[in-house]
């Protein structure tokens, strides 16, 4: 036990004397969560748009007023000619142009139909889509208000209600994802680098020749990162509660347990990577390409799994992060208990056991 404490002390010296690992450990989580929370967002706010109004009548004015009154859009420019549309997009001044046809009001009364063209700048497809949807719903809203006066025999009124994230805040979606990435990064990449560093420097050989047992070496290397990962998870949760006002609906205790499970599975992966790589650089490349990319692309963090091609959907099942994100969203947003996420928990446990088994096997072969 005394040997073990000495070993861990040494690991902490390594970590605290290396500015690079200090930054990855403590700077990264905070920077990432703030970046994802504030800067990278799917919401739109005060988007600049332009109007080309060929009819300039009462109806179009009302619609324009309604749009400019919403917090989502601000009208930057009133255009006069069709040719201005292209020009204003090229300058990049506005994200969308509304083009009302001539005699809008008249057509509406005469034909019960009038057209307004919504032109969006789709160099950024997500934003274009969102803008178009928002404008659509403002128009529909207006239409419904107008129709109140008119008697129709029957009418279908859609009443959408978004549950678990009614304001559609992107930070609710990013927090589970960022937490997953950070835990993966700290646990898997940092451990694999720290183990391969000993191999690269030749100190691993010295440790193996000493009476300290190989599994003690590994546990000693891993232990500080369990501790630091837990601190990171706590920091992320606190940031999301206090800065982004994200409520944690479910049990914090369950959240902690599940996080520890994921941390252990990531650590096991880190050990596995370290048994496969001889240098710190290889370990870093394998961690980044083999872990970070799948975590970002295939875990459902940014891109919904259900809209992926079947082959990728199948592939996403082998990524531990996918299951952890489902668990996190369940606990944080839906407030569910273990009875709803036991399946994901079991899968994650199974993977963890597999990774630990594989790394023990690999480690033994390497010793031989």
């Amino acid at each position: 036990m005394k040997r073990f404490i000495g070993f861990i002390t040494k690991e902490f010296y390594h970590i605290f004397r290396d500015t690079r690992s200090l930054f990855i450990l403590f700077g990264m989580p905070i920077v990432q969560i703030l970046l994802f929370g504030f800067a990278i967002t799917n919401e739109i706010n005060n988007v600049d748009i332009a109007i080309l109004d060929h009819s300039k009548d009462a109806t179009t004015k009302e619609i324009i007023n309604k749009i400019s009154a919403s917090k989502y859009f601000s009208i930057k420019q009133i255009l006069e000619r069709e040719t201005d549309i292209e020009a204003v997009f090229k300058k990049g001044k506005v994200k969308a142009v509304l083009n009302f046809e001539t005699d809008f009001s008249k057509n509406l009364i005469k034909d019960h139909q009038a057209t307004v063209q919504i032109i969006t700048d789709a160099t950024d497809p997500n934003t274009a889509n969102t803008i178009s949807n928002y404008i659509n719903s403002i128009l529909q809203n207006y239409q419904q208000e107008q129709n109140k006066a008119i008697q129709i025999d029957y009418v279908i009124v859609p009443e959408p209600r978004m549950v678990y994230n009614p304001e559609l805040k992107s930070v609710y979606m990013f927090v589970p994802g960022v937490m997953t990435i950070i835990l993966m990064l700290v646990s898997a990449m940092m451990t694999s680098i720290s183990i391969t560093r000993e191999k690269e420097l030749g100190t691993m050989e010295i440790l193996l020749v000493s009476p300290i047992k190989p599994f003690q070496v590994i546990i000693g290397k891993v232990f500080p990162y369990i501790f630091l990962s837990v601190i990171n998870a706590v920091v992320i949760v606190l940031l999301s509660i206090f800065i982004f006002k994200m409520p944690i609906q479910g049990s914090l205790f369950l959240l902690a347990l599940e996080s520890v499970l994921f941390i252990i599975s990531a650590l096991a992966l880190g050990i596995l990577i370290s048994t496969m790589s001889a240098t710190q650089q290889t370990a870093m490349m394998i961690s980044l390409m083999g872990l970070m990319l799948p975590v970002i692309l295939l875990s459902g963090f940014i891109f919904p799994i259900s809209s992926m091609p079947l082959s990728l959907q199948v592939l996403s099942n082998i990524i531990p992060a996918k299951w952890f994100i489902i668990i996190l969203k369940g606990i944080m947003l839906k407030g569910v208990g273990i009875e709803f996420i036991w399946k994901e928990t079991f899968i994650l446990m199974g993977m963890t056991i597999l990774f630990i088994g594989l790394s023990i096997k690999k480690y033994k072969i390497r010793l031989e």
């Binding site: 040997r3 004397r17 010295i206 031989e368």
Partner: protein, 242 residues
């Protein structure tokens, strides 16, 4: 086994697939001896040494190190030997003192013992000025002297040195060998691999490995007579060229 033999290997063999990295070597090392273990790169020196220090299991044969069997008592061997390799130069981001107490700790020395050892070591090597500096900032020669002393910290019966003087200047090498002599004089057995043939002359006995076999084993003087040359370099060349 005679009591004075601290290493005894008999027909020790290591196979990697069909390749015989070490092909039935037999030799013994006496207590307090400086034993030079020579061979060209790839001759099987490192593999042989790994079997003796208990991190590689032999395919066949027998070996006994510090009174323990390499097959069944590797853990006991580890407690009784010290090891230093060329690559190893302590932890650069730990201070001299922290390195000493870390390695003292993993060899199970008590706190009081570590403190006493640290003091002695720092005085012997004249490191008072730098004992709280990070090892990374010290010259290579110093690091090697410190790591040799660290390998001796737990007073092992045998010290294995794997090319300990690689990359240092002749004066430091000379000083390093003085430390080796002193340790041997105090009763520690030294098992050393080297590429420097002048260092081979310093050894009590020398073995030369070629293609996994020990082709020659004797005192440097007798080897030179046997091959009718003036220095160990020529002995080595004659053997290595076959």
């Amino acid at each position: 086994m005679k009591k004075t033999n601290v290493i005894q290997a008999e027909d020790l063999t290591k196979m990697f697939g069909d390749f015989k990295a070490v092909n039935g070597i037999t030799f013994e090392v006496k207590k307090g001896e400086i034993f030079g273990f020579l061979g060209a790169n790839g001759a099987g020196k490192t593999t042989a040494m790994k079997m003796l220090i208990g991190i590689s299991i032999p395919t066949s044969g027998k070996a006994n190190v510090a009174g323990f069997d390499v097959f069944t008592q590797a853990e006991d061997i580890k407690k009784n030997i010290g090891y230093m390799s060329q690559k190893f130069a302590l932890y650069d981001d730990l201070t001299v003192k922290e390195n000493i107490s870390f390695f003292g700790g993993i060899y199970g020395l008590t706190k009081a013992r570590i403190k006493e050892k640290t003091k002695g070591l720092i005085e012997d090597l004249g490191l008072q000025e730098v004992s709280n500096q990070l090892v990374g900032s010290l010259p290579l020669g110093w690091k090697q002297k410190i790591s040799f002393s660290v390998a001796l910290l737990h007073e092992p019966k045998i010290v294995f040195l794997d090319e300990p003087t690689g990359g240092v200047d002749p004066i430091t090498r000379r000083q390093f060998w003085e430390m080796i002599y002193k340790a041997a004089h105090d009763g520690t057995t030294i098992f050393v691999t080297t590429h420097y043939m002048d260092e081979a002359e310093y050894c009590d006995r020398v073995s030369i490995m070629v293609n996994g076999k020990i082709e020659a084993l004797n005192t440097p003087k007798k080897l030179k007579e046997q091959f009718q040359v003036d220095n160990m370099n020529d002995v080595f060349l004659k053997l290595a060229r076959g």
